[in-house]
Each structure stands twice: as structure tokens, then as C-alpha cells.
């Protein structure tokens, strides 16, 4: 197969797509399929590993190798797969429940190890497949099937959590902005190391409109902050607003009163800035809230886990020679009878 003739369609399978009509998952599937040809890899060198949840049905729709595994464990399984087969392109599909609730531990360990995989966390702030309980990203006070009096668990800030776990790449996208989503997917793919990509995804059955502030045509400009490398942080209608850093404190300023040169310039290599951006996490209903950032927050080159493992195998061979089974079996001390 010559990869340059491949199109998005080649990555579709013959399986019926079984999400609810209108589900945000459709868009994500489409964007992923459409950037696949850019990987420059034959289909057989790509693997999609998912856990359990609506989102985790994803692999059935990708004509690559794939596993729809068990709840929360895609990260563990993908770690083994990538460590064994570093040359494969490995994609993890998970949800806010799958990845942050039951699977939280494997996720943070994968991130610290920096296994070179791409993690797409479909965050719909709800348990879709089990029909509407709150998830670890549901907001305080939310009424759901399992919280008839309102949620009392403070939600995770997924990108802060990832930074706490020393993730080497973090980004946020949204189902309804396909261009940005594709850009982020591409950047994640190019990053050597764990790419953690949170994707806001509308569950139109159990949590419809959760991300409307960030996709609604009327509100989007005010509510979103699109991160562009080397560019000042601007937002609002006609980019009339910007973000300035006053010591450690970010402030929203009007460009009418402040020059773009004095604004915070986005630098995805800056760890502290990235952390501060993850803290732009206000409830959009609260007055004076900051816009929600989208795009690549942070990326850092550091050794990947599977490379280091490969390296040790190589070193061992250099040091002890290619393993000889007879030597191994005979051990150090032996005798003949």
C-alpha cells in the first residue's frame, strides 16, 4: 500500500456507527479519519485501543488494528503494546469516566512514563453508556441520575491533573471546531511522547449543551481563547480583548487600552504558563470569568519510555551478547554426573 494514495475513507470499516444521532463523537471520528493519511503510515501499523464507554466504541470504526478493551484499562494495554512495538502508531480512545474515573491511575502513570501514544479523552462531563450518571468532570451541583440532590464531588481539571502527572504534551479541542481539532490531533501525533488531548464532546442525550458557551456562534468569541504559538493571547469579538500577565496574575485587558505587544505571548514550551492556562477553568456563568483556552497548552521533548526500554535491550545485548539459551540454562555453577 503506498500511503500517499490513502484517503480518510480508507480508514472507515464496514461496521454501522452506533452513536446517537447528533452525538459529538461523529465529528471526532471524522476528524481523526481525515488526518490519518497524514501519518504516512500503512493502516496495519496503526492501532486504536479503547476502554469502555460510548466513546470507546471508536476502534470498531477505524480500519486499523484495534482493541475495545475493558473499562479504564486502555492506557495500561496501550503501554504494553507500545513498549513491545515502538514502531507502531498507537492511539488511545477514552472518556471522562473511562480515563479519569476508573482509569485515572493508569493514565497518570502513562503520562509520567511518557509512553509515545496519543490519548484522546472524549470529555462529555457525563457517563453516556450507562445512561447519565455524573462523571469526575461533571460540575458541582449538577443533577443526574445518581445525584438527584446535586453533585457534591469537586470535578477534576483534566489538564491540571495531566500537568501534575508531568505530561509532556497537553491540549484541548472541541467536537464542533473541526479545524482546530484536526490541528491539535496533528500536533499530538507529531509529538514524541504522551500526547494528552482533552476533547469537549457534546452528549446530546444526557448532557446536551454542556459546551455551548464554547461552540455557540454568539458566545464562542467571548468564551474561548485560541492558543497560537508565538502569538499574543487575544479573544472576544474582533479579538478586542487580550490577556496580560501581572507578575503571577493573569488579567483580561481591552486592546483599546493596551497594546498587543504587552500581552502574554503563547509559548507552549513554558511549563509555568501552561499551568496557568490550565487554571483558566472558571464556570462561564460566573461574572468576570476568563475565557476557556483551546489548542496546544504545552509540549516538551523528553525521552520516551519505549525508547529507553529498547535502549536497555540493546545495551544488554552489547554487554552480554545476544542471549544464548544454552548458556542461560546452564547457569553459572554446574556439574556433570
Amino acid at each position: 500500500m503506498t500511503t500517499d494514495t490513502v484517503t480518510a475513507k480508507d480508514f472507515a470499516t464496514d461496521q454501522d456507527v452506533r452513536w446517537c444521532p447528533g452525538c459529538g463523537d461523529y465529528s471526532i471520528l471524522k476528524q481523526v479519519q481525515s488526518i490519518m493519511p497524514e501519518l504516512g503510515l500503512p493502516k496495519e501499523d496503526i492501532a486504536f485501543i479503547s476502554g469502555i464507554g460510548c466513546s470507546s466504541r471508536f476502534p470498531y470504526y477505524m480500519d486499523t488494528y484495534g482493541m475495545h478493551s475493558i473499562h479504564g484499562r486502555a492506557t495500561a494495554i496501550a503501554s504494553g503494546l507500545k513498549a513491545a512495538r515502538p514502531e507502531l502508531s498507537v492511539w488511545i480512545i477514552t472518556g471522562d469516566g473511562d480515563g479519569l474515573s476508573i482509569g485515572g491511575n493508569h493514565l497518570i502513570h502513562l503520562l509520567r512514563r511518557n509512553v509515545d501514544v496519543n490519548i484522546l479523552l472524549f470529555n462529555n462531563e457525563i457517563y453516556g453508556l450507562t445512561k447519565g450518571q455524573y462523571s469526575p468532570t461533571s460540575e458541582l451541583g449538577k443533577f443526574t441520575k445518581s445525584s438527584p440532590l446535586g453533585v457534591i464531588d469537586q470535578p477534576f481539571n483534566p489538564l491540571s491533573l495531566a500537568m501534575g502527572a508531568d505530561a509532556s504534551f497537553i491540549a484541548r479541542a472541541i467536537d464542533r471546531d473541526p479545524i482546530l481539532l484536526r490541528d491539535v490531533l496533528r500536533a499530538g501525533n507529531l509529538h514524541k511522547g504522551s500526547s494528552f488531548i482533552e476533547i469537549y464532546q457534546n452528549c446530546n442525550v444526557f448532557n446536551d449543551g454542556a459546551f455551548d458557551p464554547y461552540s455557540d456562534k454568539k458566545r464562542k468569541a467571548e468564551e474561548t481563547l485560541i492558543l497560537q504559538e508565538g502569538k499574543p493571547l487575544v479573544f472576544g469579538l474582533d479579538n478586542a480583548m487580550g490577556i496580560q500577565l501581572d507578575g503571577l496574575t493573569p488579567r483580561m485587558v481591552s486592546l483599546a487600552t493596551c497594546s498587543a505587544d504587552d500581552l502574554w505571548i503563547h509559548d507552549s514550551k513554558d511549563h509555568t504558563k501552561a499551568w496557568l492556562l490550565t487554571r483558566f477553568f472558571d464556570d462561564p456563568k460566573v461574572a468576570g470569568h476568563f475565557p476557556r483556552p483551546f489548542g496546544v497548552f504545552y509540549q516538551q521533548e523528553r525521552p520516551t519510555y519505549e525508547k529507553a526500554m529498547q535502549e536497555q535491550v540493546k545495551q544488554a545485548v552489547e554487554k552480554f551478547g545476544e542471549g544464548d539459551l544454552d548458556v542461560l540454562l546452564a547457569g553459572r555453577n554446574n556439574w556433570e554426573i
Binding site: 500500500m1 470499516t13 461496521q15 500503512p42 493502516k43 496495519e44 501499523d45 496503526i46 492501532a47 485501543i49 469502555i52 476502534p59 470498531y60 477505524m62 480500519d63 486499523t64 488494528y65 484495534g66 482493541m67 475495545h68 478493551s69 475493558i70 484499562r73 492506557t75 495500561a76 494495554i77 503501554s79 504494553g80 503494546l81 507500545k82 513498549a83 513491545a84 512495538r85 514502531e87 507502531l88 491511575n105 493508569h106 502513570h109 526500554m309 536497555q312 535491550v313 545495551q315 544488554a316 545485548v317 554487554k319 552480554f320 551478547g321 545476544e322 542471549g323 539459551l325 544454552d326 542461560l328 540454562l329 546452564a330 547457569g331 555453577n333 554446574n334 556439574w335 556433570e336 554426573i337
Partner: protein, 611 residues
């Protein structure tokens, strides 16, 4: 000086956890093996890293049973007990033979040690007549070592640490062992610490010489090389053998081994051992927990390596959900459970066989898996090889049961030549026909396509799947067929394993003892003794617990009594009743330690009397 020829002997080194008894015992074992004796060892140490010094709960012991005849257990009663302190003596006295020999470090019997071992002031077992039925040799090793090393540049702590070498040297002399390999070992181990090396060697030699010159003995012992089948031998510990079995099978299958584990006693040594063999393409992955470990192993198997994971009971419990996944996606995977005393955290450093039913039934839904068990340290190699072969050739997760007793025990092993090991053939998909992930051969085995194989992209998962295509299917009849087919696949493994043989005896005997796992040795010795005494009984030892060998039911049906000794509350019995409705007599011991042959003998005799 006379030399008394013995057929076999059992030596127990006992001291405080910090006294280096495990190292002492291992050295004695190695030298004894090189001497040509057959042997079996049994280390027994506290759960604490350093339990309170001087207390009974802090005692660490290492038992070596060796002989010029074949040895099958780490021994019953002890001939020679080395006791570094009061607690070591108190704890092990009941293991000693009448008139057995005790070598005591007097320095370990001071007021403080006596108190820590719960002696009231003024009392001392060395003087109060407790030991009147034994031969006692008292040496103040503390003092001798102090004197000997008074010019050593070492600190006090390091000097004291050499005391075990004195005892080792002493016992070498007594049993006529060649000190050479130990001298080499010390030179290698402390190559970078010349002072420590010098001190250890000096003390070791002092022990040898002390025994030689002090005329404490009227004779020393000689145990001649055993009549072992000719061949090349080495000493092997259970966990080591298990690790080597995995490596060997992976090589014979042309696959890389990917071992993922999370440390847990007594399975951790498999991880340690394998992490030293990266030059065999072995990858070891220390996961964040047991679930991640089996997950990573599944991922590696999906990638075309042979994934394996090892743990003990509590970790096994955590793996059961993922085992169900491996079962559904029908990938090769080896799951090792080195059993320990349970339930829950239980007795982490003690042995038990109480996870058999968990292995058989501990999963949701109908998910039968092959289950094999190792009998001895060297058998660990063979069974690990066989488990891996079954996993690969039958595309299934396989459970391999070992236990703390054999994992830490050692014995001489006539190791095989790589070329003599069977080849293992992974059922890789071929491009001849379009790939269907759940198309099966006559053994119900599906074909294996791994990432990188062109045109064979497919998806697997834990939902029920359609025959042939592997697509998700909620169809009622398809589900029933798939459940039955998966069970049939596992049952069909019975066709590729040997029929059950007798270890001794035959269907002419009215009684059969059926053992599994580490109860092999004690059963074998018991049966030999019983037959000598004229009790007509046969011995069947099961390596394959699921599926059973095809002829097992027919064999068992021919006995009037089926006796099943187990280190649990009667678990194999459940499987025999399930499979064959066999009425069984269950002999159980749930004490965290192996059977004594005598216990099995007594039970069989009692059953024989009721025939």
C-alpha cells in the same frame, strides 16, 4: 578422625533476620549440589523486613535436606541445627531429631537475648536441661570473631555481620564440604570491598579450622554423591526455573517475552530474574499495579510478543477482570500465581495451595482457562515452558500455579539442551485466505494476526463476538455457540497433553494418592515408605488441572479409595467431584507450611485400615 557415611542429612541454619541465614543456607546448598548430592531446600523467613532483633518472630531459617539417594522434600526432622541465638533455638527445637546435633552461638544467649525470647531472668535453655536429649556444641562465635577481626579496618557492625561465615565454615568441615566455591563466591561478591572480603574469608576459614582443631567431634560425616541419572546439573530455585521456562519457550516460539509484574511476595523474584535477561529480547515492565501489569501483558501479546504476568493471591484477585478480556479476545498469555497463605493479605511469606478454585472459577461469566501446577523447583521450568506452549499454540490465557514453598526452594536440576526443547508454533495468520479473526481450526484455535501484518487489520474486544468475523454480536444463539466453542477449545487441549501416568503403583492397588503442585515431594516420599511397609497404594501427580488428562476419570474409577492431600481446605476434591463424581478422602493442612511425608503416611494408613 573417623568419617561416618550417611545416606542423607538435614541441616537447618537459624538465626536472627539480620544474621544472614539465607545466604549461609544458599552457599551450603550450592556446595552440596556441586558435591553431587541430591537436595531440596526450604527457606523460612518472617514477613517483616527486619522483625525485632532477637525475638522469636524475627527468626529466619534455611533448611537443606541432602543425600546420596534421591531427595524429594526439604526434609522432615532435622539432624543438625545451627542456632545463632536463643530465639532461633526456641523456635526450631521441635524440628530436631531425638539426639540431634545443635551448634549454638553462645554469644546469642546473653541476658538481652534471653529476655527477648521470653526467658525470665536466670533461666537459660543451655543450662536448664531443655537440651538434655540432644548433642550440644556451644561456641562463642561473637567473641571469636571479635578477637579474630580486632585489627580489621571494618566497623563493629560489619565485623559482626561475618559471624554466619564462621558457622558455615564449621558445618562445611562437619559434612566434609569443599570450601572452594564459597571462597570464590566471597571473592566475587565483595570484589569492590576488599576489607569486607578479607574479613569474611578469614572468619569462614576460622570456622573450618575451629572444627578441625578443637576436637569437638569424634567423627565427621560424609554423604556421597547421589545416584542421579548422568547428565549436566545445576542448582535451581523455583522462581528462577519458572523465569527460565518462560524465556526458553518464547525463544522456541520465535517470540519476544514481555513480562509485566507488580512486586509481591513470593512472586517478585520472577520479575527480578527476568529483568536480568534483556539480552534475550526480554522486556520487563514494573507496572503501577497488578491490573496494569496484566493489561500491559495483553497489549504486548496483541502486539505479537508473548505476554506474561506473575503475582500472588491478592494480585491474582485484581487480575480477574482482565483475565476475562484475554479469554474473550483469545490471545496467548501466561498468568503465574505463586500462591501464599491466604485469605486477603494472609501469611505473605508462607506457603499454601488455596488459590486453585480461584484459578478455575474466579471470573465473571463462563471463562474456563487451562490451569497447570508446578511440583518442584526444577519442574517450574518444565511447567512454565508447557504453559507458554499451550498459551501460544492454543491462543488462550493459561494459569500457572506455583507456591511459596517451591518458589524459594532449590534442588539440583539436570538442565536440558536448548536444541532438545520442543519447538512452539504460533498459529500466525497467512495471507492465503482473507483473514477472519474468529475463524477456527479443528482444535477451535483462531489465527493470530498482529499489527504490521498487511490487510489483516481487525478489532477485538470484550463484548460477545460473532463467529468468524469477530464483529460485536448480541445474537442469542451465536452467544451460546461461542460460549460452548470457547469451552470446547480449552477442553480440546486434553488432546495435546500426555495421558496421566502413575508416579508409583498401579491400578492393582486399592488406594491412590492424588497430589498436585508442591505436595508432590512429600507424597512421593510417603508413598515410597508406605509401599516399603506393604501398604498397597499408588501415586498420581497432576500437572494438568484443567483440562484433566483424558484418562484420569477412568483411572480413578478403578480405586476403592482416592486420597487427596492438599495445603488448603479441600479444593482439588471439588474439581474431581465435579468432573467424575469421585468420592474422595481429603487430607488437608492449612498451616502455611508443607506436608511432612509422615503426615501423609499416617493418613493413608488410617484410610487403609478402614478398607
Amino acid at each position: 578422625m573417623a568419617t561416618q557415611l550417611l545416606e542423607k542429612a538435614t541441616v537447618l541454619f537459624a538465626g536472627d533476620s539480620g544474621d544472614g541465614m539465607q545466604l549461609t543456607g544458599s552457599q551450603f546448598s550450592l556446595t552440596t549440589a556441586l558435591h553431587g548430592n541430591d537436595l531440596a531446600t526450604f527457606p523460612d523467613f518472617p514477613a517483616e523486613i527486619r522483625a525485632p532483633i532477637g525475638t522469636v518472630s524475627g527468626v529466619s531459617g534455611f533448611k537443606v535436606n541432602f543425600g546420596s539417594t534421591r531427595i524429594f522434600t526439604s526434609g522432615g526432622k532435622v539432624d543438625t541445627l545451627v542456632a545463632m541465638n536463643v530465639a532461633a533455638l526456641v523456635k526450631n527445637l521441635d524440628q530436631l531429631k531425638a539426639n540431634g546435633l545443635i551448634i549454638v552461638n553462645e554469644g546469642g544467649f546473653d541476658a538481652r537475648n534471653l529476655k527477648l525470647a521470653n526467658y525470665t531472668a536466670g533461666q537459660n535453655p543451655l543450662t536448664d536441661g531443655t537440651l538434655s536429649n540432644f548433642q550440644v556444641i556451644t561456641i562463642d562465635v561473637n567473641k571469636l570473631v571479635k578477637e579474630l577481626l580486632k585489627d580489621s579496618p571494618l566497623g563493629n557492625k560489619d565485623r559482626d555481620r561475618t559471624r554466619n561465615m564462621f558457622m558455615l565454615g564449621f558445618v562445611y568441615w562437619l559434612y566434609n564440604r569443599n570450601p572452594e566455591s564459597t571462597l570464590q563466591f566471597l571473592a566475587r561478591k565483595f570484589a569492590k570491598l576488599p576489607d569486607v572480603m578479607a574479613a569474611n574469608i578469614a572468619v569462614f576459614k576460622a570456622g573450618l579450622h575451629y572444627a578441625d582443631t578443637t576436637e569437638l567431634f569424634s567423627n565427621r560425616y560424609e554423604i556421597q554423591p547421589a545416584q542421579m541419572p548422568p547428565g549436566k546439573y545445576r542448582n535451581i530455585m523455583g522462581n528462577e526455573g519458572l523465569a527460565l521456562g518462560l524465556v526458553a519457550a518464547s525463544k522456541k516460539a520465535g517470540l519476544d517475552l514481555f513480562y509485566a509484574g507488580y512486586p509481591i511476595t513470593p512472586a517478585s523474584d520472577i520479575l527480578h530474574e527476568l529483568s536480568n535477561h534483556k539480552n534475550f529480547g526480554v522486556r520487563t515492565f514494573q507496572a503501577e499495579d497488578e491490573i496494569a501489569a496484566i493489561g500491559a501483558a495483553i497489549g504486548a501479546s496483541f502486539g505479537g510478543h508473548i505476554g506474561a504476568t506473575g503475582t500472588s493471591g491478592p494480585g491474582m484477585a485484581l487480575k480477574t477482570e482482565a483475565m476475562g478480556l484475554a479469554f474473550m479476545i483469545e490471545l496467548p498469555l501466561v498468568i503465574v500465581n505463586v500462591q501464599r497463605g491466604g485469605p486477603s493479605t494472609g501469611l505473605p511469606t508462607k506457603t499454601e495451595q488455596a488459590d486453585l478454585l480461584q484459578a478455575m472459577f474466579g471470573r465473571n461469566g463462563e471463562a474456563p482457562m487451562p490451569v497447570l501446577a508446578c511440583a518442584t523447583p526444577s519442574d517450574c521450568f518444565e511447567v512454565a515452558f508447557e504453559a507458554t506452549r499451550i498459551a501460544i499454540e492454543h491462543m488462550t490465557p493459561v494459569i500457572l500455579l506455583s507456591d511459596g514453598y517451591i518458589a524459594n526452594g532449590a534442588e539440583p536440576w539436570p538442565y536440558p539442551q536448548a536444541a532438545d526443547l520442543p519447538t512452539v508454533t504460533p498459529p500466525f495468520a497467512t495471507a492465503e485466505t482473507p483473514y477472519q479473526p474468529y475463524f477456527r481450526d479443528e482444535k477451535h484455535v483462531r489465527q493470530w494476526a498482529i499489527p504490521g501484518m498487511k490487510g489483516m487489520q481487525h478489532r477485538v474486544g470484550g463484548l460477545e463476538k460473532q463467529e468468524l468475523t469477530g464483529n460485536v454480536s448480541y445474537d442469542a444463539e451465536n452467544h451460546e455457540r461461542m460460549v460452548k466453542t470457547r469451552a470446547a477449545k480449552v477442553a480440546a487441549i486434553a488432546n495435546s497433553i500426555p495421558e496421566q501416568q502413575f508416579d508409583s503403583g498401579s491400578t492393582a492397588d486399592p488406594i491412590v494418592v492424588v497430589s498436585w503442585g508442591s505436595t508432590y515431594g512429600a507424597s512421593k516420599v510417603a508413598l515410597a515408605n508406605l509401599r516399603k511397609e506393604g501398604v498397597p497404594c499408588a501415586h498420581i501427580h497432576l500437572r494438568y488441572l484443567n483440562p484433566f488428562p483424558k484418562n484420569l476419570g477412568a483411572l480413578l474409577a478403578q480405586f476403592s479409595k482416592v486420597i487427596v492431600p492438599e495445603l488448603n481446605d479441600g479444593q482439588l476434591v471439588v474439581l474431581l467431584r465435579r468432573a467424575f463424581l469421585t468420592p474422595t478422602e481429603s487430607l488437608t493442612k492449612i498451616q502455611g507450611k508443607p506436608f511432612l511425608a509422615a503426615e501423609i503416611e499416617a493418613f493413608v494408613k488410617q484410610q487403609y485400615a478402614t478398607l
